[in-house]
């Protein structure tokens, strides 16, 4: 890791430099509108080498999958095949335009259509829309669809959505954006939905239940064993079931969520179907739906018309979630990935993801206890407060000193001092064993040399930052 401070791009600027050679004008010049001419533009002025060194040095201040183990729970930080990048970078995809016309983009439409069909098969859905641009965006589309479904039946009273307390924060936030009220459901002693609380919740909101949002496997990494019963109860109460597919990496070829009573579901296509996270995105949040909701999917979607492919809005579509047809570049990667794996490969992905997680779980829980200790799926949640004065944050920061990215911490909220570990299928047994060795070592240090943990990390360009002060008087832009 590059420890040297790197000046801001503005601070390495020198007047008159330019890093790009542009063609000379080959047409006459035309006057700009006098009242609108810009007189000052304070962008940096750099040469190309300075640009390259600056950003290369910045890159070296990151942990990444290509350089480090990244067992970040619920984030599915697996290795993404480089062939995906080649595919998405083909000029025939990169340099084509969303409005060039169906006749002139048959290859892109065919890929979209094939991917829709493959994802419908993997998820057990009737139909799929690839429009949403991220997981949360797919969630929003899904709750809009649930709302539209009830309204289409003349039922405007259904405004409440039940959400387990282990859910991602995006679930309740998506409900709010769809004008629905989120009601929290407690988890039971096994980490699943508390069935009595579910029944009570459905009764208390009788006639007003729009549906339930359920993540399966949930954020504890546990498969919701009552999923079909939950769906039956919610349907009986007149509600619909939303499936959050954030953790689909545990289920490809193992279980089709659409067969368990789920009416609409998103997949984080970029996670399970392999686009690098890019330091924050882009993602893709495809939505799949069963019989009740297929007509409400966002659009347009690709359809086959005789010999050719076309775009069409589903019959009762909630409309567009974004301009054009989704994050197409991510779709190309997902398509390429699925083609390289095939049905058996996809099952192997889930099997190894779950096997790696369980292997780590049985070894880690000897030093870091679990609140819910039954067999896990693709991830598990341990607790970091293993010695007096030691918190999960200290464990996380000490891991950095050993060259490992911390697990997700303090989530889910129902586990105190949570350390959420997701190794993924692409990590080797040797890497997992090294992680166990380091975690065991840190557990010893926590008891014998806690100051090492409190001071961590010390091997990085900066130590722990004062985030409270940063938020109190925010500096959000460079000022000369």
């Amino acid at each position: 890791m590059n420890l040297k401070p790197e000046p801001l791009v503005f601070e390495v600027s020198a007047p008159g430099r330019i890093a790009v050679s542009l063609p000379k004008g080959d047409t006459p010049s035309y006057p700009l509108p006098p009242g609108l001419v810009r007189t000052e533009l304070k962008l940096p002025e750099l040469d190309e080498l300075t640009v390259v060194r600056h950003f290369t040095r910045l890159s070296q201040k990151n942990f990444s999958i290509d350089t480090d183990f990244y067992p970040l729970g619920s984030c599915t930080m697996k290795y993404n095949p480089k062939a995906n990048e080649v595919a998405a970078g083909l000029p025939g995809f990169r340099n084509t335009h969303p409005l060039v016309g169906e006749e002139f983009s048959q290859g892109a439409l065919e890929l979209v259509h094939r991917l829709q069909s493959m994802l419908a098969e993997i998820g057990g859905f009737k139909a799929v829309s690839l429009q949403p641009a991220a997981g949360a965006h797919g969630e929003l589309a899904g709750v809009f669809m649930i709302r539209a479904y009830h309204l289409s039946r003349g039922d405007a009273k259904r405004t409440k959505i039940l959400i387990p307390d282990s859910a991602h924060g995006t679930n309740p936030a998506s409900c709010t954006m769809a004008g629905l009220e989120a009601l929290t459901l407690p988890s039971n002693a096994e980490g699943g939905v508390d069935m009595e609380a579910l029944k009570a919740g459905l009764d208390a909101a009788a006639g007003e239940v729009a549906g339930i949002m359920i993540t399966n496997p949930n954020t504890l990494g546990l498969f919701e064993r009552n999923i079909e019963e939950i769906a039956r109860l919610v349907h009986e109460a007149g509600g619909l079931v939303y499936g959050d597919g954030a953790n689909m990496n545990a289920l490809t070829g193992v279980f089709k969520p659409g067969e368990s009573g789920i009416d609409v579901m998103h997949f984080n296509l970029h996670k399970t179907f392999s686009t690098p996270h890019g330091g924050g995105g882009p993602g893709s949040g495809m939505v799949g739906a069963g019989d009740r909701l297929a007509a409400f999917l966002p659009g347009p979607v690709a359809v086959e018309k005789g010999e050719r492919y076309a775009l069409e809005m589903p019959a009762k579509s909630i409309g567009r979630m974004k301009a054009f047809y989704g994050n197409f570049g991510v779709l190309v990667r997902a398509y390429t990935y699925i083609r390289m794996l095939g049905p058996n490969g996809l099952r192997r992905v889930a099997e190894n993801a779950v096997l790696n997680a369980n292997y780590l779980k049985v070894r880690i829980e000897k030093v870091f206890p679990l609140k819910y200790s039954r067999r896990c799926m693709h991830e598990f949640v341990a607790m970091g407060d293993i010695a007096p004065g030691i918190h999960t944050l200290d464990i996380a920061k000490r891991l950095i000193d050993y060259g490992i990215h911390p697990p997700t911490i303090y989530f889910p909220l129902i586990v105190p001092e949570a350390l959420m570990v997701e190794p993924t299928e692409t990590e080797s047994l040797a890497t997992l064993d090294e992680f166990v060795r380091v975690m065991t070592l840190i557990a010893q240090e926590a008891k014998t040399r806690p100051e090492l943990l409190h001071a961590a990390p010390t091997t990085t360009p900066i130590g722990r930052l004062d985030e409270v002060a940063a938020a109190r008087s925010p500096v959000l832009c460079y000022r000369a």
């Binding site: 542009l22 010049s29 201040k61 095949p81 016309g101 057990g124 498969f223």
Partner: protein
């Protein structure tokens, strides 16, 4: 098998360590009847075969690499310097997560801070967030933000000449709320403002090309107690006054033009800036400066009390994953272009577009409809624009967007876009092709 490191021997040892005899037992939580369903998918291909297959699909598309390209309408064919791809494809950026652990993410965090700073300068705003999904969702979230700023008001005014897909996205985003989305025609300073209006949206320039001084519109919005929301072409900000200088409170843009390919419509870059007064109502991630215990400067995700992972149902938005890598591309693009380059690109667009408009307007039967415009202008055509477009596209001259794609009744209107990537020879070819095809 590819992309899984465990050998059969590893798996056997690990199953034993877990204490199960086989995979079936490992997945015992899943109802047996539903476990390991048949997947009706094509069998796996090798990397070589898979790439051949996608290459064959890619080859069926008409692209800007091989055609004279005058189609814009929300996705733009601008030149991308090689340095952008070289940096954005570095694994340390490409395969890093969202920078929640600042000590091991200073590269991403500083790049976001630099992007925020350069974009804020471009827009004339005080704060820019770390991105939205695209220009349309950035605009929809900006309108939500304006509503949250004045929840007792119930109307937003949007231009009739806004990108039709942006209008659709705003309608989707507001489908559950008691808010009226009303369209106005022409000059935004004459839009029907009232004490019910929380936001006035204007476009700089409009989808149909028209370019206006928006200072009077912002002043009118402020006089009515509404926020001025401006959707801008970020390249144009290289030579024309920023929306901030014209009084905007919130600025949004489609940032694809800044170093990102057209990608058949995505991934793109939703850009959003605002005045610092509004920052705590702003959606999306924001990076700020911070200090560690030794006083060393670093960068961190900040003001997260606005966000879903902290506030859940009370968050200002549900956005989580954004367009991080595309933002990085825009960051490198702006740094590489810098002051001189961006200004030059914008000027090339301006000159070439005005040359093209002059020549097209001189073809018998053709007329340019705009008063003022930047790189895109609306042409009235003597024959249906869709037919022209089809005919010319077959000859690898993609002349623009027939407006009938969005408005079936507007058959004889073609939206033509000219960027620095078009040569004079290509423009002359377009003029010649339009002349011949309309005879």
């Amino acid at each position: 098998m590819p992309f899984v490191a465990n050998s059969n021997a590893d798996r056997a040892a690990m199953l034993a360590a877990v204490g199960v005899k086989d995979m079936d037992e490992l997945f015992a939580d899943i109802p047996a009847a539903r476990r390991f369903p048949r997947l009706d998918l094509p069998e796996a291909l090798s990397e070589l075969e898979a790439l051949r297959e996608v290459e064959a699909l890619a080859a069926k598309n008409v692209t800007a690499s091989t055609c004279a390209w005058f189609l814009g309408a929300g996705a733009y064919n601008h030149f991308i310097p090689a340095v952008v791809g070289a940096i954005a494809s570095r694994g340390e950026f490409l395969t890093a997560y969202t920078p929640y652990q600042p000590e091991v993410s200073q590269g991403t965090l500083q790049a976001i801070f630099e992007y925020q700073s350069m974009a804020a300068e471009l827009f004339g705003m005080e704060v820019v967030n770390a991105s939205h999904y695209d220009g349309a969702t950035a605009l929809a979230e900006a309108v939500l933000m304006a509503w949250h700023n004045a929840p007792s008001r119930d109307t937003v005014l949007i231009p009739a000449a806004l990108h039709p897909e942006y209008k659709d996205v705003i309608r989707t985003y507001f489908s559950a709320f008691p808010v009226k989305v009303e369209e106005y025609r022409g000059d935004p300073s004459k839009a029907p403002l009232s004490d019910k209006v929380f936001g006035l949206v204007s476009a700089y320039p409009e989808f149909e090309g028209e370019l206006r001084d928006l200072a009077p519109a912002s002043a009118a919005a402020h006089a009515a107690g509404a926020l001025s929301i401006v959707q801008v072409d970020p390249i144009m900000c290289g030579i024309l006054k920023s929306p901030g200088a014209l009084g905007a409170d919130i600025v949004v843009a489609e940032g694809q033009a800044l170093g990102n390919a057209m990608n058949y419509g995505g991934p793109f870059l939703g850009m959003m800036g605002a005045t610092s007064k509004l920052v705590r109502k702003m959606p999306g991630r924001i990076v700020g400066e911070a200090k560690d215990h030794e006083g060393r400067k670093g960068f961190v995700l900040t003001l997260s009390a606005r966000e879903q992972h902290i506030r859940r149902e009370k968050a200002v938005s549900n956005i989580c994953s954004n367009q991080g890598l595309v933002m990085l591309q825009a960051c490198v693009y702006l740094a590489a272009m810098g002051k001189g380059g961006l200004c030059a690109v914008a000027r090339l667009c301006w000159d070439k577009a005005h040359y093209a408009a002059g020549r097209i307007g001189a073809i018998p039967g053709f007329k340019v409809e705009n008063g003022a415009f930047f790189k895109e202008f609306l042409v009235r055509t003597p024959v249906p624009a869709e037919a022209l477009s089809e005919k010319l596209s077959r000859r690898c001259v993609v002349p623009g967007l027939p407006l009938s794609r969005y408005y079936p009744e507007r058959k004889n209107e073609l939206l033509v876009c000219v960027t620095e990537a078009c040569t004079k020879a290509q423009i002359d070819l377009l003029v010649q092709s339009l002349t011949e095809a309309s005879k």
